[in-house]
Symmetry: C2
Subunit: 424 residues, 2 copies
């Protein structure tokens, strides 16, 4: 180790060097490495659990909350599940090498694009140690080297997992250096990582809003941001009531803690009297707190349901991540569109309607990663969209938007094949 | 104008507001606006030239060099040429609205992507006033609003051109506010623009390396960087001599001042004795200064050609932008690949070979925006690649790489059409 360079510099440069050879590694070697990682996760269970126990005990001692402790915890089942996920990624098609948009120009030049890895991906994440495995495996499969920087609360777990990954990968033919774990917990190293645009090609932050915003604001290289979803479902006056109930219920209740869950329900005034009591009854039974604007209050308060309360201004545009929904009656599709434009976070937005024109307008005018007609926003997910593994959900507009699969960890280069052409 | 906000804030917010309606403007309105801009450029020639004279006179007075004065200068011919370019963009297909990768999932959901504008594009550029027209028109055609910040040396010209564009566009149905010119020359406003990631979706810097690096390092939103090309042509031992001469000559001489021109010629040792004297004779006749490594010196010095000089270490990896080439004899394809990896800027790299395996390896292993077999690197250009208008050439890896056309000023959103689907 060069004494004049710190850990981040040394490890990132090693990753860069490895990435050059990663770019044209065969699918066979990459899959062999992934299957070996899966095997060794299972075989190394004991060591991993010992390391995780250290983190867990330290977390308990430090007074970490139950939810965070649960995210930190590894068990035999969770390790088995990680290994199964790694095998699933091994089974996916290799995105690298595909040549596309190839055509022959009038001068005989063949010009097209070939899909290639991005290079070095930096991952900055919190608590959940499975992200170490998750991101490493997605990067390896897509031909990228990776520099991992996990949270200090999971340091022993991350180290144990990274060693399993490194040993398995390098012994399977992955170039040494392709998987790097930053061990120092010096926070200045994160700031340094964010400025290394010559060696880190893309940064993926995984964690809370503070982490994501810090990375997005300060990174000098491209960042895949996302994970924050303020999602609306608008029930149009022409909506089919049964569909509108099923969709809003599913979007709110099926898994309320995730970014694609419903936050605000907008209801056209012409259908509010018939629709709102029905969805409110279902939600109420499921324990949903319903925060109502004045007009929806007028309809729901007389029904004496549990947890129907007045909404405050802060409830519009809020991501609840819980069994809470804001409800507003609107005069028109226009008002719904304006509300979504103002308060949406560009994640997932839905309309329930039987009106062709309303569906077309909603698809056209809503600016979000995923725009739905007559379906639950809960479908915003790489697996659900058929992308195989999911790297994350992007709410930024460039490079890739919405659910990101392996292909979104690649870029392309232009390939030009001639037989002596020169430019006139 | 809100007195608590400065010019950049007010104009960028206005652009953002306009961009919402730009996103679903018809192709007809956009094309009508472009044709009107072309007409008014011609009709407004006198005013534009008066404004340009002010800038030119100020430039002369300030002791501006001939090359820079020439870049600043507008003439009747140049205005006609600008108008013709605008008409050419009007004639290109509209990239917005295309729906692609649409498929039906097992549950009946139809999921696909629809191409949409990026939103607000910021352009920061130097001297040449035609960039004002160029970027505005490309942004309008691709449905984006634009915030322009040109150089102070062209301020009167840019203002006159922006007024022509704004009047023509708004009277043709483009939402008011879609084209903004920052008039203040306070440099702090550039720094401020680079941090406005909530309102500016993408930044395009156009100018010298200092400007581009400043923007790339400091922008918090995605940046399209490029324009710096250290381009190699490698003549393999199996090269066809006639092709290798024509290609290297074209790449160096046809237009030496641009980023896709040849900088370094690498020649396999087995072919150096027969090839180097021939290309050197042609180059010498064209006035090319040839900076030789030791081995190529040994071959070329005895020929007493003009301008054959020893290369210094600084000549490797240098973008000459002039009739200068560095020449190096290499032992093998491996050495050529290693040299390109070390010194290339990821722009355009070429091999001349009749060997299938060498061609395949070069295409596979070289990491650059454009990789060539048996053709001149001068083809790296949106027009040459058949993209129509060119926004620039990107040497970054994310979002888009190499020549950028109108499509690269767009992104996509996911469209999901169901009939009541919920997630199980």
């Amino acid at each position: 180790m060069n004494p004049s360079k710190n850990e981040v510099e040394v490890k990132t440069e090693a990753a860069k060097a490895a990435s050059k050879r990663m770019a044209y590694l065969s699918t066979e070697i990459k899959n062999r490495a992934l299957l070996s990682i899966a095997d060794r996760l299972m075989a190394g269970e004991k060591d991993i659990l010992v390391a995780n126990n250290l983190d867990y005990a330290a977390g308990e001692k430090a007074g970490m909350g139950t939810a965070m402790l649960d995210r930190l915890l590894l068990t035999t089942e969770r390790i088995q599940s990680m290994a199964a996920d790694v095998r699933a990624v091994a089974a996916l098609p290799d995105p690298v090498g595909e040549t596309f948009e190839m055509r022959t120009l009038p001068n005989g030049l063949q010009v097209g694009k070939r899909r290639v890895p991005v290079g070095v991906i930096g991952a900055i994440y919190e608590s959940r140690p499975n992200v170490t495995v998750d991101i490493s495996v997605l990067c390896l499969k897509s031909g990228n080297a990776v520099v991992l920087r996990g949270g200090k609360e999971a340091k022993n777990s991350n180290l144990a997992l990274a060693m399993v990954i490194q040993n398995a990968a390098y012994q399977s033919g992955i170039p040494e250096g392709a998987v790097q774990l930053i061990e120092s917990k010096d926070r200045a190293l994160v700031a340094q990582m964010l400025k290394m645009r010559d060696t880190i090609d893309l940064i993926i932050p995984r964690g809370g809003a503070d982490l994501i915003n810090n990375v997005a604001q300060n990174a000098s290289m491209p960042v895949v941001t996302g994970g924050i979803g303020v999602c609306h479902t608008y029930v149009d006056r022409s909506a089919d009531l049964a569909k509108a109930i099923a969709i809003a219920h599913n979007a709110k209740v099926q898994r309320p803690t995730v970014c694609n869950a419903l936050d605000t329900l907008l209801v056209h005034m012409n259908i509010a009297d018939s629709y709102l009591p029905k969805i409110a009854a279902e939600w109420s039974e499921a324990g949903v707190e319903i925060r109502c604007d004045q007009r929806s209050s007028g309809i729901l308060q007389p029904l004496s349901l549990h947890k129907v309360v007045p909404a405050s201004d802060k409830d519009w545009g809020k991501e609840f991540l819980a069994l809470v929904a804001a409800v507003k009656v609107v005069d028109s599709l226009d008002e719904a569109l304006a509300h979504i434009e103002r308060y949406g976070s560009g994640h997932s937005e839905a309309i329930v309607t039987e009106d062709y024109g309303a569906a077309v307008r909603f698809l056209k005018e809503v600016d979000a990663a995923c725009v739905y007609v007559n379906a639950s926003t809960r479908f915003t997910d790489g697996g659900q969209f058929g992308l195989g593994a999911e790297v994350g959900i992007s709410t930024q507009k460039l490079h890739a938007r919405g659910p990101l699969g392996l292909r979104e960890l690649t870029t392309y280069k232009w390939i030009v094949m001639g037989d002596g052409q020169v430019r006139p």
